[in-house]
Symmetry: C2
Subunit: 284 residues, 2 copies
């Protein structure tokens, strides 16, 4: 595994790999790698023979009041995990490589960037789409791998891929969970033992939603109400949102219908830690 | 010469050309080709062996009150000119290929997009940078060729190229002029005979600025004042702006200095037709 810090060098190596007929798979991350990230690398290896894992804690997707400074970083441990998982190139640019002095270009997606996560984090997706565009242009991937946990991010990235004609297939991999169902997240380390215990309610509430739908419930309001009740029983939980949306457009749904892909998404704070999770709801 | 309408097909051909080791040169245009455009194709041929000329009248760079509908279009004549000039692929997508239903992604550059042209055309450069990003991703050029007449556009395109890491060399070619000095522009056809005659004053005023600087004048205000006086003598002329700026950053200069690249830029209306022009000012 090569570790590359320079953007120019990264791009040169990617171009060479393309010329040699390699199939490049990109796994973009902010580091602090967990089993979810490693599942993306494993998935990439199935269809690509040149795996680039990027680690960059991207400042533009954090608001000033968010956790950029304390976001967990452990490059040595991450590098070992990448090597073991079969990464070809670990790309770890520093901030000046991606946002040099005078940096002023942003990629924005109207509409789906300002709903759900975008409501409480208005500049978040502008940061995500800008760094993803940079990473795509530097690593020239044939396929890029994202986790379903960040469902809205996946939708936004697919949108810029389609709109700007990035020659990249966006592959979305399933959520990887802890034993009690909590979705893997680098932010889980922030949780106190009590909050960590309470946070299992998120997956339980999502499972309850699936059960309700399997039992014939088609009212979004009824499903959300029951989830809300479950989560509110945990003292450390404060719900930001629970929404049922069209899985493609992310537009809010009043009711479920057979054949329409639906997604229930939630964001809940436990103390100072904000967690997100989601699951598909399929009317059979 | 192949004429390609499909974005997907364009991208496939560009990728194949890259794999075959061709050097791709892109000349992006809005059609209605004149000697200025043809000089770009000729320049591209000097260093590239696979020339893509694009013709697309890009709606997002026109404001609702501007001339999108009446912008001159003559695809048959343009195609013949491209063929004669040595274009390999003429890419003429229709609007749905570049802005399909639900299109919502934009590339923006803060700062230099909102000065000069951007003051009276606030959404113009957002349209330019968005279509340029799309064209770069579809045609995968090694070099892209732009005309110095659109000096601010060149600066904005260089900025997105650098910031987003487009693997493209931006080449800027000199302004091509009519015999009386008027800069070639597809919009010159809008001018009445009187306006066309008056419009020669733009180049005369730029030449006067060069003379003043050669004679030792270093005050931007003094140079602009004399240019303004010359242009205002033409009854059909209405000055939008005349500014002297740093040639790299486009920030406004009060005075010229030896060794600092300076550019004098102007926008002037003749009747309903808005023309732009510029020249470098070099203190010796």
């Amino acid at each position: 595994m090569q570790v590359i810090v320079s953007a120019a060098e990264m791009q040169k190596l990617a171009e060479e790999a393309r010329r040699q007929g390699k199939t490049i798979g990109l796994v973009p991350t902010m580091g602090s790698l967990h089993a979810g990230h490693l599942s993306l690398i494993a998935l990439a290896k199935k269809s690509c023979d040149f795996i680039i894992t990027s680690i960059f804690v991207n400042p533009t997707q954090f608001a000033p009041n968010e956790d950029f400074a304390r976001y967990p970083r452990d490059l040595v441990k991450d590098a070992e995990a990448c090597r073991t998982a079969g990464t070809t190139i670990l790309f770890t640019p520093d901030q000046n490589e991606m946002y040099p002095d005078g940096y002023s270009t942003f990629v924005t997606v109207d509409g789906i960037s300002s709903i759900l996560e975008g409501k409480s984090r208005p500049t978040h997706f502008r940061g995500v789409t800008t760094i993803v565009a940079q990473l795509f242009l530097l690593t020239k991937p044939h396929r890029a791998f994202f986790g379903q946990k960040d469902a809205q991010q996946c939708a936004v990235v697919k949108r810029i891929g389609r709109d700007l004609h990035f020659d990249v297939e966006i592959v979305v991999a399933p959520i990887v969970r802890e034993q009690d169902g909590l979705a893997m997240s680098s932010r889980n380390v922030y949780l106190t033992p009590q909050e960590r215990s309470d946070s299992a309610v998120l997956h339980a509430a999502l499972c309850r939603a699936e059960q309700l739908v399997a039992g014939g419930e088609q009212s979004a309001a009824a499903i959300v109400k029951e989830m809300r009740n479950m989560i509110q029983q945990k003292k450390s939980a404060a719900i930001d949102y629970i929404e049922i949306v069209n899985g493609d457009s992310l537009s809010v749904l009043d009711g479920l219908q057979k054949g329409m892909p639906a997604l229930v998404l939630l964001a809940v704070r436990f103390g100072t830690t904000r967690l997100i999770d989601n699951t598909f709801l399929n009317v059979r």
